[in-house]
Amino acid sequence: MSTSPIQPEQTSIQQKDPLTPNVEDLYLESYAFTTAAAIVGSVDRKIFVVLRDGRNVFGILRTFDQFANLVLQDTIERIYLETEEAQESVPKRFAETYRGVFMIRGENVVMMGELDIDKEDDHLQEWQQIPFPEAEKELTASQAAKIKEQKLKSKNLLTKGLISDFAPSDLY
């Protein structure tokens, strides 16, 4: 290991402090178009992750790797119960539960993004919080209904010679 500071290859980029190189800049300059470069900026920030099974997970991103495996700390899982029609009388409901340290395998991620911590709970003002087990039950019921519907659809499409790429594990 050399004791000299790490110098980015393109010296046209301004260098704030040569002794403590900014890891993000290193990635962005020479590894610009990689998975890691896209994720490194979000480390130690509050992020949300949508998983392939439809879960919404919120936590502080601690580490990640080239497969986009993520490790989140202080994670909470939130269920938003979808409302079909925008009715004023029916309150939109959500539920939360604490999950602690969460390691997500990269292939199960649909999308992830940085949250603005000042605004992250704003949208919850219009939503009513309900206990998690209740929300979970309702969610699994609606997912089962959706799966049934999709399977029927796939069957119908097949009779017409069309293939449907529905996977019952992808409920996002």
Binding site: L19, P21, V40, R62, T63, D65, V101, F102, M103, R105
Partner: protein, 127 residues
């Protein structure tokens, strides 16, 4: 510190694994490898809807079937401590090898390296 490194640090600790099919496996992590294949002991396996439970003494999980893992809270701090200690140990060894006797250099090197390694997955360009 990469996720798989954290997982290795979780050996002998209780973890929860949820598989892609929704089954949850609760047990003590015995071993893991770079493909996230795991061996667990004193395992309780639950079905996707939590209606059936199985007690298994030893269990092997293929990494490709994992959706996510839940690890103990204190693991993060423990692992970071360990990492820091390993880094400092390595730096001390390197300095002994290079025969550097000046202390200020040693301190700034250790802290600079600790800093660059705490922000993860830094490309190992120091060769």
């Amino acid at each position: 510190m990469l996720p798989l490194y954290l997982l290795t640090a979780a050996k002998n600790q209780p973890i929860l694994v949820e598989l892609k099919n929704g089954e949850t496996i609760n047990g003590q992590l015995v071993n893991c490898d770079s493909w996230m294949n795991l061996t667990l002991k004193d395992v309780i396996q639950s079905s996707p809807h939590g209606d059936e439970f199985l007690k298994i003494s030893e269990c092997y999980i293929k990494g490709i079937h994992i959706k996510y893992l839940r690890l103990p809270e204190q693991l993060m701090d423990q692992a970071k401590e360990q990492n820091l200690q390993n880094m400092e140990q390595r730096n001390r060894n390197n300095q002994k090898r290079r025969g550097q006797s000046s202390n200020p250099n040693a301190n700034s090197n250790a802290s600079a390296n600790a800093n660059s390694n705490n922000s993860n997955s830094a490309p190992q360009r120091q060769q």
